[in-house]
């Protein structure tokens, strides 16, 4: 898989958060959650802008002929408009062929896995040859001025992945799951049709989301290993959705994953929702080439998914 990322220019450091909330112990909290910086979309910068820039970075980085892309999947929960799909805007921005299809996927922390599974289906089903999977979110626009907790966690970002049939052949069996009873543990109540008078502000019940991950993720990992006929030791790297370091360390210990195989990489960009996993994969400090990697996403929905990729990038 070929991956590129894009961050907005504006940043939010711990120092910036202290200035906004002088009584808030941001240093103590950020040390626990492992985040010291976040990128923030500008006032006139939206998911389509971030996603288009990530795609343009991908085209330049790998000298990709955009005319060969025949399907665009965009994973976002902060669309430019209620309709049309934000992927239509990106489609035009990056100059894809009129013969290339497009679809938006409304998933968050498990979204990259959803995108990968759809790409695999399109490629293995002979419907597409080159799928462009973009993740792009501007969650920080949903955070109210008073909400210091979510300011500490979330950042904006976009990624673009080119997936071909060669990649799809290395993508193993997926596991999916949903618990819609937890919808209100992480949601934006206003902004769509049900509550038109309300501002679109994010609410997160941290304890319940944490409780959910402890309940669901260990079993998710067990099931995806079983479905892929692979043992826990045969995985070279585990890349979980980078929710926060504290939660990830709890899960790692509970599942008994060795520290050196478990990637935590969010200090400089925070929780970027569906972009965290491809950001880790793109990280040039680790050579994932040829490795067996387990990806797992979990969060808003409540939704979860995992997959095993063999011979990554070969």
């Amino acid at each position: 898989m070929k991956i590129a990322k894009f961050f907005p220019q504006k940043t939010r450091s711990n120092h910036d958060i202290v200035e906004m909330h002088p009584d808030y112990s941001v240093e103590k909290i950020s040390k626990k959650i492992g985040i010291s910086n976040r990128y923030i979309a500008g006032k006139d910068e939206f998911a389509s802008d971030l996603g288009s820039n990530a795609a343009k970075n991908l085209f330049i980085k790998y000298n990709i002929d955009r005319s060969e892309i025949d399907f665009l999947i965009l994973v976002t929960q902060s669309p430019d408009y209620l309709l049309p799909a934000t992927s239509s805007i990106i489609h035009a921005n990056i100059g894809l062929s009129n013969k290339a299809g497009n679809i938006d996927v409304n998933q968050g922390c498990s979204g990259y896995l959803y995108g990968l599974s759809l790409a695999k289906g399109l490629l293995k089903g002979g419907i597409s040859k080159n799928v462009l999977l973009i993740t792009a979110d501007t969650y920080t626009k949903y955070i109210s001025n008073e909400d210091k907790s979510n300011k500490t966690i979330f950042g904006d970002a976009a990624t673009a992945s080119l997936i071909t049939i060669k990649d799809a052949n290395n993508i193993g069996e997926f596991i999916f799951g949903t618990d819609g009873k937890g919808v209100k543990d992480l949601y934006v109540k206003g902004g769509a049709l049900r509550n038109t008078g309300l501002k679109p502000e994010i609410f997160m019940n941290g304890p319940n989301v944490f409780n959910f991950t402890i309940r669901v993720v260990p079993e998710l990992i067990k099931n995806v290993l079983d479905n892929n006929n692979i043992s826990i030791d045969e995985i070279d790297y585990y890349i979980f959705h980078q929710a926060n370091m504290f939660m990830l360390n709890h899960l790692r210990k509970k599942i008994n994953i060795p520290k050196n195989k478990f990637i935590i990489d969010m200090e400089s960009s925070g929780n970027t929702v569906s972009s965290t996993i491809p950001i880790v994969l793109e990280n040039s400090e680790i050579n994932f080439s040829g490795k067996t990697i387990l990806l797992a996403g979990f969060g808003v929905g409540l939704s979860w998914s995992a997959v095993v990729i063999r011979n990554y990038g070969l």
Partner: protein, 70 residues
């Protein structure tokens, strides 16, 4: 009970603090959203007890949490 109180105290990372089993969790100085997560994590790791936000409401005392692990 002493061990339980020590485990709770460790989550506040304040060696000088004093807490009592009758204390309401939300009234303990330094309690915040992060401490809440740390307490959930500790209870799960040490006592195999998984609590939700309902178990951490404003009326919850340390005694009520202690009773849950019995």
């Amino acid at each position: 009970m002493e061990k339980f109180l020590k485990n709770i105290k460790d989550q506040f990372e304040d060696t000088n603090m004093t807490i009592s089993i009758e204390d309401k969790l939300v009234q303990i100085e330094g309690y915040d959203s992060m401490t809440a997560l740390m307490i959930i994590s500790m209870l799960e790791e040490e006592y195999n007890l998984l609590i939700s936000s309902d178990d951490l409401n404003d009326e919850v005392t340390l005694k009520m949490l202690f009773n849950k692990i019995q």
